[in-house]
């Protein structure tokens, strides 16, 4: 049995509100399947389940706001014995499949959870998902203590402390009355803010939490748009990640001017032959060049978690997307190095549209291995970004400018691009960083090879 928990939603989000369950008890789920939708400060996020098996129980209710790491559901791995078989019960034992109409509510007879505190939220981040060994279905012990599920993407210890009461034994401290009331109401103790000694959860805290949950308006429509995002909340989320970045990461910065005229000419000629639907943006060429250069930069492409840097073979390119009305989000285009230019343009179009109007997936917010931020076609000539933890580098492209440039022995007007690198001095030095920028320059001089 595995507890499926609220996964990490990136360095800047600590809590999320469950707005929709896409599965119900009795459903089978596959690894990576989208099982729920949560609302965050940056919009709706689809939550993928990293367990495979049967949904035994939904712990989180629609409308509940829960911290990262809070239990969402209980999943029985395929081949794992049903509780009724593992622990033979009298004839009135709970059927292994709950009736569908109870799916959104409380399970008809909640299992005896009271004596078993919720499994401890991992204090330290686990490996990034692609490096985490999949827990083989069926091998997990059927009894508690259950192994904590993989948290896709790291969450810093201080964030965990900020959202969850300090662990005591195997769970947050709570009074017996509080535990009983929480179990009755189907509320996760991890979601309740404790006001007792040492942050312990008291009965009153649980009552307040239940009252607040009931007072919340009904679930929003199935596809909440980006409109109505609370800008103050989004700024807070961005601030949290950026403060952490500047506190933990010793940034260094490099800047390099690149003659973009060959790429500009190639792009104009290519787009002149195409209908608008298949035209390319300069942003796609820049992204492609940055991604190819990143494949050769092991010190810049990866994640720094739990005190150790893990370079990544794949380039999961975090693309900074400005949200209309303000704020930004940097979802990752997975395995971007495998996408040729046209496919990368499509991936960009898709992820920008979903960042603004639709839904991103939690893995897209946590798996990035390097960030690429572009000013676009107008604006300032250079940008020096703040690294998005746990990544260790950010490539910045300013708006290309028409500038005098020396070609041979003459000065010509050319389109000039300022490419910058913000990188983590714990992992790399300027000399290594410079190679990434000169590689981008080399690639952009031969745009037909992109």
């Amino acid at each position: 049995m595995a507890v499926f928990k609220m996964p990490s939603l990136g360095a800047d989000m600590e809590t999320a509100k469950v707005v929709e369950w896409l599965v119900k008890p009795g459903d089978m789920v596959a690894h990576g399947q989208v099982v729920a939708v949560v609302e965050t400060q940056k919009g709706a996020i689809e939550i993928e389940c990293f367990e495979a098996g049967e949904v035994v129980r939904l712990d989180a209710k629609v409308g509940e706001t829960l911290p990262v790491g809070a239990p969402l559901a209980l999943i029985r791995a395929a081949g794992e014995a049903a509780p009724s078989k593992a622990k033979p019960r009298p004839a009135k034992a709970r059927p292994s499949k709950a009736p569908p109409d109870s799916a959104q509510g409380q399970p008809p007879d909640a299992p005896p959870e009271i004596p078993t505190p919720p499994p401890e939220v991992p204090e330290v981040p686990r490996e990034v998902p692609e490096q985490a060994p999949d827990e083989a279905p069926g091998t997990a012990p059927a009894e508690v203590p259950e192994p904590p599920p993989e948290v896709p993407g790291p969450t810093p210890p201080e964030v965990m402390r900020a959202v969850a009461p300090p662990p005591q034994g195997a769970g947050p401290p709570a009074s017996p009355a509080a535990r009983q009331r929480a179990a009755e109401a189907g509320v996760s103790l991890a979601a309740v803010v404790g006001t007792g000694p040492g942050g312990a959860t008291l009965l009153g805290d649980v009552e307040r939490h239940i009252g607040a949950a009931q007072a919340e308006p009904p679930a929003p429509p199935a596809r909440p748009g980006k409109q109505g995002l609370d800008m103050a909340e989004m700024r807070k989320a961005i601030a949290a990640a950026m403060v952490r970045s500047k506190r933990e990461i010793p940034h260094y910065y490099l800047s390099h001017q690149i003659d973009l005229q060959p790429a500009t000419d190639w792009l104009a000629a290519t787009n002149a032959r195409r209908q608008p639907e298949t035209r390319l943006l300069m942003g796609a060429l820049l992204l492609r060049a940055a991604v190819l250069a990143a494949t050769k930069s092991a010190d810049l492409n990866g994640q720094f978690t739990d005190g150790a840097y893990r370079p990544s073979q794949a380039v999961h390119a975090g693309l900074v997307v400005a949200l209309r009305g303000g704020g930004l989000i940097a979802p990752a285009i997975r395995d971007a190095e495998t996408l040729a230019l046209d496919a990368l343009m499509e991936a960009m179009r898709d992820i920008v549209a979903r960042a603004r109007n639709g839904r991103l997936r939690n893995s897209e917010l946590t798996e990035g291995t390097i960030t690429i931020s572009s000013m676009g076609e107008t604006g300032a000539e250079a940008l020096f970004g703040v690294i998005y933890p746990p990544q260790v580098a950010l490539v910045g492209f300013g708006a290309p400018q028409r500038r005098p440039w020396v070609v041979g022995d003459t000065v010509e007007p050319r389109m000039i691009l300022s490419a910058t690198l913000s990188a983590d001095h714990r992992i790399s030095d300027g000399r290594r960083g410079a190679r990434l920028l000169t590689e981008i320059e080399r690639l952009l001089k031969e745009p037909e090879s992109l």
Binding site: G225, K226, Q227, A268, N271, A272, Q275, P276, E277, R279, L281, M282, G283, A322, R324, G325, M348, R349, V352, N357, G376, E377, T378
Partner: protein, 81 residues
């Protein structure tokens, strides 16, 4: 297509690309990039939508004529079959 219908079609596609734009407060001289904050991806999506809907060829060299609702409607009216 009449100027009124062309404007309505343009505004409909504009709002589809940038749903936060309120057609009621949209001024015909609002600059698509500077005032309405369309970025290059938004703009390309708008051009694609106009091409699909109206069947009008819009080359990259023409993009400058689509700087505001007023100039875009004039351009599209001049180009329509």
């Amino acid at each position: 297509m009449t100027p009124e219908k062309m404007r309505a079609a343009f505004v409909e596609e504009l709002v589809r690309v940038a749903p936060d734009i309120d057609p009621a407060t949209l001024a015909d001289d609002d600059h698509l990039q500077d005032d309405l904050e369309l970025d290059s991806m938004d703009f390309l999506n708008l051009v694609s939508a106009l091409h699909r809907r109206l069947g009008i060829e819009i080359a990259e060299a023409d993009y400058g004529q689509l700087s505001s609702t007023r100039s875009a409607v004039a351009f599209l009216l001049a180009r329509q079959g």
